[in-house]
Amino acid sequence: MSYVPIFHLTIPSIWVSVLIAAALTSFLLRFALKEKTGDWLWNAVSLYILIWKLSYILFNFENFLEMPLSILYFNGGLYGHLLGIVLVIVYLTVTLIKQPKLANQPVFAWLLFFVSYQAVLQIFENNVLEAIFHSLLLIVSILAIRYLVKRADVPTDLLLAALFTLELLIVSVFAPLISWQIATLVTLAVITTFFYNRFTQKGQIV
């Protein structure tokens, strides 16, 4: 676990990587899908960060009452993360049911987000080789989505599964494969793919 010094604080590099990856995803998704990334992405990211941060109050209520200022320094930790992800899933479900057309974005966004997150994080951690592998896969993923997604003979879920398995391979070479991060990602993958397939079958996504 490495830290990034910002002003007089050291911030875990995973959180800096999350923000950079979210910004990258918004930009790369636009390139890959040739359409503007919807507001849903930043809504989901903001919702997650807000819940993750504020859930400190929920899980450390006594500490918070004693020192309310501690909310500035701490976050909800793993439970906060899980709560944040549950609410992001609820948000996505509600949004996609209202606007099925949007479903083609999140289904690719989670992959682009995770691969760029890994690339940025490994740069912070100074793992040059691993960073290069993730970056290469990121480029391959963007091009694959851009050029294969509209083709009828390429099933989207197969394309995503192949890219994701490659990403898991890179991760597993350098770190333990079973982690909360991977569990989170698989959950998001399953849910977004479910919506995508459902709306495609209904003809709501062109």
Binding site: H8, Y56, L69
Partner: protein, 184 residues
């Protein structure tokens, strides 16, 4: 055609994942041996041996860092006038209470030379109910040796007394658990 290629990629990658996970486990033991050979001289860089010191704690007991070899040490620097330090202390107490085996020792060095006096320090310790050792750096020499410029600053030491991590800013209990579990 592309569909078949994608299937092939998926399958090969899955097999490779299984293969790497088995091979990786065999390599782990040799890797840690290489790391342990890199024993270093005293210093503040990661992997270096933390500078030794002797101070007196809040109960008048002598605390010498080198006496804690064989234990992981959370070496924290703090002062009562620093809000993030105050926010961090209940977490440190919780961590201390949840670690009854005592394989991780907390030494929370108070910057006594820069603090607001003995009374302020004692009333804070009582108020939060801190029971771990709080060595008093009355001359400021230890803080200087550790180049502590902002508080809280924490050095995580492994069982060999080497610096495994430096963290500036407050830590919560989870960070302390993650940091101490990830080192030898």
């Amino acid at each position: 055609m592309i569909k078949k290629a994608l299937f092939a990629i998926l399958l090969l990658a899955a097999i490779a994942i299984i293969a790497t996970n088995f091979i990786a486990k065999e390599n782990e033991s040799t890797q840690s041996k290489v790391e342990s050979n890199q024993s270093d001289t005293t210093g503040l860089t990661l992997g270096a041996e933390a500078p030794d010191f002797t101070l007196t704690d809040q109960n008048g007991e002598t605390v010498r860092l080198s006496d804690y070899r064989g234990k992981k040490v959370i070496l924290n620097f703090w002062a009562t006038w620093c809000p993030p330090c105050r926010a961090e202390m209940p977490h440190m107490q919780q961590f201390h209470e949840n670690n009854p085996d005592g394989d991780v020792e907390i030494l929370a060095i108070n910057l006594t030379a820069q603090d607001k006096g003995d009374e302020a320090i004692r009333s804070f310790i009582d108020e939060v109910g801190l029971t771990f050792q709080i060595p008093m750096d009355e001359s400021g020499e230890v803080a200087q040796a550790y180049q502590v410029r902002t508080v809280p600053t924490t050095y995580i030491l492994n069982t060999k007394g080497e610096i495994a991590q430096k963290i500036v800013g407050p830590m919560d209990e989870q960070i302390m658990i993650d940091q101490t579990e990830s080192i030898d």
